[in-house]
Symmetry: C4
Subunit: 366 residues, 4 copies
């Protein structure tokens, strides 16, 4: 295998191997892709103030993720239809996550039935989209729980899909071999039409806007910890805590929903300060290195979700590639923690940060 030294290397490898329209499906955002780009810009704008001369020889990348120790402060984010990227799809990715010691989030729109993915072992989570029929939604939750999933990651920022222009231009549709495996056979997103995305059409047919009552319904259905993914407003974070969730994912859905939505990182500090331990605060969007995880921690995240990069690895080299992504993140994070004088993610959360545009004479640590 080639020597991939950073996730960008794997991005290039994936781009070479994937057909253009599948690359676009993975990489694209909505509208002008302003929020997609802003996710990276927000990370690049932040600088960390490292500490020195502290005991780091025994530093660890282990961290609590939804109340359980994980090898890394991360989980694999939900990404739909992973068999688009590699024939083994979700199974390969889940095995890589299991072996790396991090949770793997099974998608409502997985291309392998959730039970088969959960059977891989490790720490499966289940991502829930709210369906037009509440009963079918709760049935998915029940199936996930029965299959051994440890948590329900409820996506709350998709009342409907954002306008993903790349898919629309490509008239993107799933190949016959890839289906929404948790759904009935008849609902696949295979039809192709000019200026339309078959995936978006399918979503529009199947999904319905969730509400806070939907959250109640899920909580009533299961004792699994519930995580709300897609929170950006402080008020919504507060309400989530009041609703008794175990965690929130501060996220703009990788720039794929509201074009113009603020990057999660911009809201993270404020949300973490407000939530103040009421639930776990995860970050999602644009994390591309262990150093990025350090930045997220310094701004208040206890862990992060990693989506596209794991798919790059999957596309480039299947299970082994996905594992390589997680290994690189581990190596980078281990390196970064020590360089920042931190023996753990807990210490990382106490680091200071600076953003450019400051007059260093007047800027004060908050």
């Amino acid at each position: 295998m080639t020597h991939h030294l950073c996730l960008d290397d794997l991005e290039r490898a994936a781009r070479e191997v994937l057909p253009g329209e599948i690359w676009d499906f993975l990489a694209g955002g909505s509208g002008t892709e302003a929020s997609l780009e802003a996710n990276r810009a927000a990370l690049e704008r932040i600088f960390v103030i490292p500490r020195v001369l502290r005991e780091v020889a025994e530093s660890t990348t282990e961290a609590e993720v939804l109340g359980r120790r994980a090898a890394l402060p991360m989980a694999v984010a939900p990404v739909a239809y992973q068999r688009l990227f590699h024939p083994e799809g979700e199974l390969a990715a889940a095995r890589a996550a299991r072996d790396a010691g991090v949770p793997y989030t099974i998608c409502t729109l997985s291309s392998v039935p959730l039970e088969e993915i959960a059977a891989v072992g490790g720490r499966p989570w289940f991502q829930l989209y709210w369906l037009r029929d509440e009963k079918r939604s709760l049935e998915l939750v029940r199936r996930a729980e029965d299959a051994g999933c440890e948590a329900i990651v409820f996506t709350v920022d998709v009342p409907w899909m954002g306008r993903r222009l790349r898919d629309m231009r490509n008239g993107f549709a799933l190949p016959e071999s890839v289906t929404a495996a948790n759904f009935d056979a008849g609902t696949a997103a295979h039809s192709r039409a000019g200026g339309q995305s078959a995936v978006a059409e399918h979503t529009a047919r199947e999904f319905a806007p969730a509400t806070w009552e939907s959250v109640e319904a899920v909580r009533a259905q299961t004792d699994l910890p519930v995580v709300l993914k897609g929170i950006l407003a402080v008020e919504d974070a507060t309400r989530a805590v009041d609703a008794g969730v175990a965690g929130i994912v501060v996220s703009n859905h990788g720039g794929r929903q509201l074009d113009g939505a603020v990057p999660g990182l911009e809201m993270l500090g404020e949300i973490a300060a407000t939530v103040s331990g009421g639930c776990e605060v995860l970050l999602d969007g644009g994390i591309r290195s262990g150093g990025d995880i350090l930045k997220a921690a310094a701004l208040g995240a206890s862990s992060v979700l990693i989506g596209r990069p794991v798919m790059w690895g999957l596309a480039a080299a299947g299970e082994q590639g996905a594992r390589q992504v997680l290994d690189l993140l581990a190596e980078e994070l281990r390196n970064a923690l020590g360089l920042a004088g931190c023996d753990s993610m807990g210490a990382a959360r106490r680091l200071g940060t600076r953003a450019p545009g400051y007059d260093p004479r007047t800027a004060r640590r908050s």
Copy 2:
């Protein structure tokens, strides 16, 4: 018809079909075009903080526009000489607006007589430039009212024209077939001279600086609601309310008047907070998507004017193209409202915003 997925697609289509000097007349700004570019930059700098899990299934793009329900929170902005862009000119654009359920602003410098445009129906407004002869100005107001116009949009930022260098370089003059149809035959802007814009020359001959007394005179002439277009200073917004106008358009005239004038969006929040319901606050300048309308709302606008994009549609495909622009904006806005957790423009106005350059740890919601 090609699948245009966003307004930029139609801009490209219009640019291909229009002669260079007509494109320049439409697209250009004054001087270095700093204010023209700043309008877009101001929008791109703003990010919205979406809300989640709220009832959006029944969300609507309908909104009050000058006190009456419109299908969209917008009106077509005044643009001179629309027959430059398509043989049917203002008639085609007005029909598209009528069918889309939004007001259409007839120009003082329309290339079809105002009465003919108003006869298209829908909700015609009339844009007024102040002429050297006050009586002729008021005569235009009277004609507009007689023709069924619902409002007078008084342009207050053109004591004279800005230096639009593209037109000057092109020695831009109207073709014989396009005239200022509301004026006497002898006043057309057809003569061509090096380093001069015939349109600017014509304007200099015909127009005079309006004053607050002119506003009084218009208000005395008609009972129609009066909107002042071109307000940027908070003090002027306050005075406009005191003068009893129904609305103001916060605008730098699409970057075509004072080069270096602040973008309307930069002043919008402050003006909306100061006006505080004393009149409707509209925004103008650079709106290119439904997401942009959402941003304008979040900063305090109740609705917006859309100018150049409607002309792109007109140039690309006549009435059908203009309609396509309005349909796209409707579809984008509908999508964006839901993704932001808003059931209406009223909810959108309560959204928070962030601008880059913040330290997310110290930034506080205003």
Copy 3:
């Protein structure tokens, strides 16, 4: 003559006609040219908040410049060796200034004797560099006064010359035909040496650092108003007022002295507020349009100095070209004043401004 519509057009024309090393001498800054570029960036960062519906039909570009009415709020800045740019050099430029109704600043390093330039008439000023021999310095002042100069512009930011790398790389030296005409024949800057600028060598031989005592000596020598050119610190502005000067020029010497010196525009508002009428506050550096003059006024300048652009006109078309530059500035300023709702520079100084990077919801007028 070609239709030059803005000063940038004349810059291009001058660049075409001037030999490379003379262009570099005129256009270059010191070091990395960071301060040179920052002068323009500072102007481009500022936006003006125009007012509307005010009486502007009778607006005037006339303004007080050093206590006397001038046709424009400007003077021609001191630029050395103007015969480098055109055979008629300072004489042509001074005639253009005279005819445009603005003061012209004769240089210590003029290539025509100061008396000949002053004989052109209009409003000559004299720029003073402090020489190694104080008596020779004061002798220059006496000569200027005798020749009819109206003011002494004392350059205070040249204890020695900045490192102008373009001149050093070019081994720049004056052609035999161009000399420091106010000096003895033996002091010309004609010798050429690798990695050296003959002009810099000459300056190093002749000049000495001025001090506040030098200002006293000049004031004791003459009753002419004294202007200190090159002030950037508020403390120095205050001290200048205490020293009884008639004006200060807030300036970083066109980015030609300390590379890394703050642009004058960045300090202007603070200095103007502190000086508060104690003396006239002029701005220098990067003004390229009438709109730029408006910005300078809005930030507190009563008038500006224009240097390089007048030389562009001179190079492109001699006296006529220089005049064209001043005419363009007049036309642009007249246009801009009205578009900003100002009947005069006095009104312009009360305009508000905004700089990008603001959250428009929280920004407040100062």
Copy 4:
């Protein structure tokens, strides 16, 4: 010799003469090189407010550096394996520093034994990396003291090496002729492996994370002044003062350790204000001109370390080239001091600064 007019000229010269992988070893940073670039960006963002008309004829570049007068406010920074850049390596660089009157920092990883370098004379300092065996670390300190070094510069930001991707991609290893001359023969970094840096491997084998106890141990071992290099957090600066060090170097290790670490310059003002004379505060990272030294002084540094530029000179022209770099810095600093109205570095530290992004009307001097 060519006329090098600024350090960038020497950078180009070095880049031409050095093999690609050696250039990369010198020039590169860690990870995405964000911190490397940010060092320069931070300097470029700062502008100085010069003073005028003050006595500068007798201005001096001399300054206290670690309590002793030096010809310039700087020392040559530690750079490993200088024989990579020129056969005479550290000896040539140390001679240049000696002749220029500035301290030279001998590296733990010098390619000439420290005793030989110290024998060059001048003011040798010794840079210490903490080794796995504390006794060997202290043995290095003892050797340095015995050899006549004047200070111990303890690098505190290398618990382990940053991920320098260029070296890893190049599989960078030392040529046989270059070794870690202060170490036993067996520890050289010569083996080459794909995706690995032999230098990093060597470092990982030899070094161990230092702690505050290591500082105590060094202080107990020697009476030489101890400088901690690599401080960025205010808390660590305070602790360093409490630990009795003679100085700290505010530094992100030239962007070679934590990618994403804040530039030293961004923290400098705050640290200098907090330390408030408790020890000397030096700056390191990105200094490329005398003007940059002025900026560092204005933000609170008493002196700076210069690393890569001296190596450029060394690579381009050996001892003479290294000397040229120091001479250029001296000439630039002398020039800049006077242009800023400063007779010494002490005066420079009282200069005001501005950073772009300010509204000049509201910005206030700190």
